[in-house]
Symmetry: C2
Subunit: 349 residues, 2 copies
């Protein structure tokens, strides 16, 4: 019963514009440490899953850069999807690779762009998730113990306790408004992180039963016809196709600091902030500021006497916005003329 990890690394987000570009999305950015989030994600598995059983699923366009980033980390396997099709097909492919090598494989599902504040507790929790998945023959989701009523996350409400520290899921709630988020946190709901565990066998059983978007194509996938699988599959998130529909689901609380680094404002959580809550990365000077995030990969940036701002100089663009509005950066980008919004990677390689 070998342990495997599937790291989803297909993001193409705009949330870190202008630092992120189509060829260098979030997982390649050194947002939390000096190395890319993806490298952090692979290194975090050390002692839990060996590199040769770590599978990274990314897009064709990102294949080379993905290989480059993880080359020095034991060279995990990198799979490049023929097309983006949300998370369930990617996890099915990764799980199929594990199954082909070990019919008893258990699989951990992770994302390439997380920050984790306490890797030891993270590993202990993931290990238990893998064990519970095997012992109870269920799909396991690790729900993060919330530190604030964040409206950027989905929530998991727990039902019956199945064994000490393991619960059935009563309800998944998509991103709530502020009032509802506060109520959920008060009731002990957990953040839906995307940290999952299953046996390969159970994953495909549940796929057959509950995921018509994938089920008819699974035989192709298991026969090695990845192109055929992706050509015919319907994109769907594993949260919907499996976790919301299956009855064989358990939730395990994860009591480690965790962040999906979803906006520029997250940097004040995942990096050491000064006494006034400021984080500066690069040639940055802040004077009498508060709760402000400043990043420069270019010219020196001097920020004076402001509160709650995000200031970025990257890839030949300067962005000034507020912490709150940084979460809705896509809305802003949609209004920008293409020559300003679109970043030319070749010019800044």
């Amino acid at each position: 019963m070998s342990r495997w990890a599937v790291i989803l690394a297909g993001g193409s987000g705009t949330r870190f514009w202008p630092l992120s570009t189509p060829a260098r999305p979030k997982q390649f950015l050194p947002l939390a440490t000096m190395r890319p989030l993806l490298a952090d994600a692979v290194a975090r598995l050390e002692g839990l899953v060996p590199a040769e059983r770590t599978i990274i699923v990314t897009g064709q366009a990102l294949l080379e850069e993905t290989r480059r980033v993880v080359a020095s980390l034991g060279a995990p396997r990198v799979l490049a999807e023929p097309r983006a099709a949300s998370t369930a097909p990617a996890l099915a492919w990764g799980t199929a690779v594990a199954l082909a090598e070990d019919p008893e494989a258990t699989v951990l599902s992770l994302h390439a762009d997380w920050w984790v504040g306490d890797p030891a507790t993270f590993r202990a929790t993931a290990e238990r998730a893998l064990r519970v998945a095997g012992e109870r023959d269920v799909l396991v989701t690790v729900g993060i113990v919330p530190t604030r009523p964040d409206v950027g996350y989905g929530y998991i409400e727990r039902g019956a306790e199945l064994e000490p520290g393991v619960w059935a899921v009563a309800r998944f709630t998509e991103k709530p408004d502020a009032t509802r988020a506060a109520a959920l946190v008060d009731r002990g709901a957990l953040w839906n992180s995307g940290l999952f565990a299953w046996t390969a066998h159970r994953f495909f059983e549940e796929t057959t039963t509950h995921a018509p978007e994938l089920a008819p194509q699974v035989p192709r996938l298991l026969a090695g016809d990845v192109e055929g699988f992706y050509a015919a599959v319907t994109p769907v998130a594993v949260d919907i196709s499996h976790f919301e529909r299956s009855t064989r689901v358990a939730v395990l609380p994860g009591a480690f600091p965790w962040d999906d680094v979803g906006t520029w404002a997250a940097l004040s959580r995942v990096r050491d902030a000064d006494d006034h809550g400021n984080v500066g990365v690069g040639p940055v000077t802040m004077h009498e500021c508060g709760e402000t995030v400043v990043w420069s990969d270019g010219d020196p940036v001097i920020v004076d006497g402001v509160v709650g701002l995000v200031v970025v100089h990257a890839n030949g663009r300067v962005l000034v916005t507020t912490r709150d509005r940084a979460a809705r950066l896509k809305d802003l980008l949609d209004r920008l003329p293409l020559p300003i919004r679109d970043l030319d990677d070749s010019a800044h390689a």
Copy 2:
């Protein structure tokens, strides 16, 4: 009785950092229009003083650039001071040049870095100042009719009315605090602009009587020994050496929009602002902003959802500060490491 103009263009300010540099101070920047403030200043005299009797006083380091900027504007004379010595020596030199060509010369004193909103009224006022200076044989100061209780200006309180529209000066008040500025505006005090007029003869009479900083060296100056004059003179502002000490002073109100463009925030007065008080110059996009000034001579700058900010990308630096703090930019620069503060003109020529 020929009319002359002396334009003081020696500024080396830091108030428009990082756009201004030691080799390209404020008067060379296109802050109000598409051309440098200095070019605006010369062009503004058209019909009032001909270019051949317009004298620009600047520093040695700025001589070439000053000549270049005004070359297409009738090529006024450019004098380069051996050293910076405040305004009285510079105006003495300019006035001496006029006196050497015409013993009856009247001289208008101006600064190179003003914005004037109504050049026709400006010229009519300046013309009257020159006439009053000759007719009454006094030093004339034009006091600007204030539009707000600005704490960045000195104020002139009027005494007896000498003739319709011309007053004796009761008192000069240096930059007041906000309460006092409001009281001064309520009482009808005027802004001390630095727009002056005198006959060359009266200027040197008053110098002899009231300005010991200059008086002993004036014979050298009038004999053409400019180096000797500057070597021995004590730096002093003409406001102090002449206007505050002399009894032969009159004030004339100037009812034209005027600004000394003293801070980044001034751009919202001297440039057309949008309905929300925003001014953007260069490749700038503002979205849901208010009372914000954005300038870029470089990369596209996108500013989103902020109020009352100044954002500048120029000469390889990004500055983000507030409108209020922009007036105290020097305090900020004094705290910056030299490699960040000092701008390399050669790299951005």
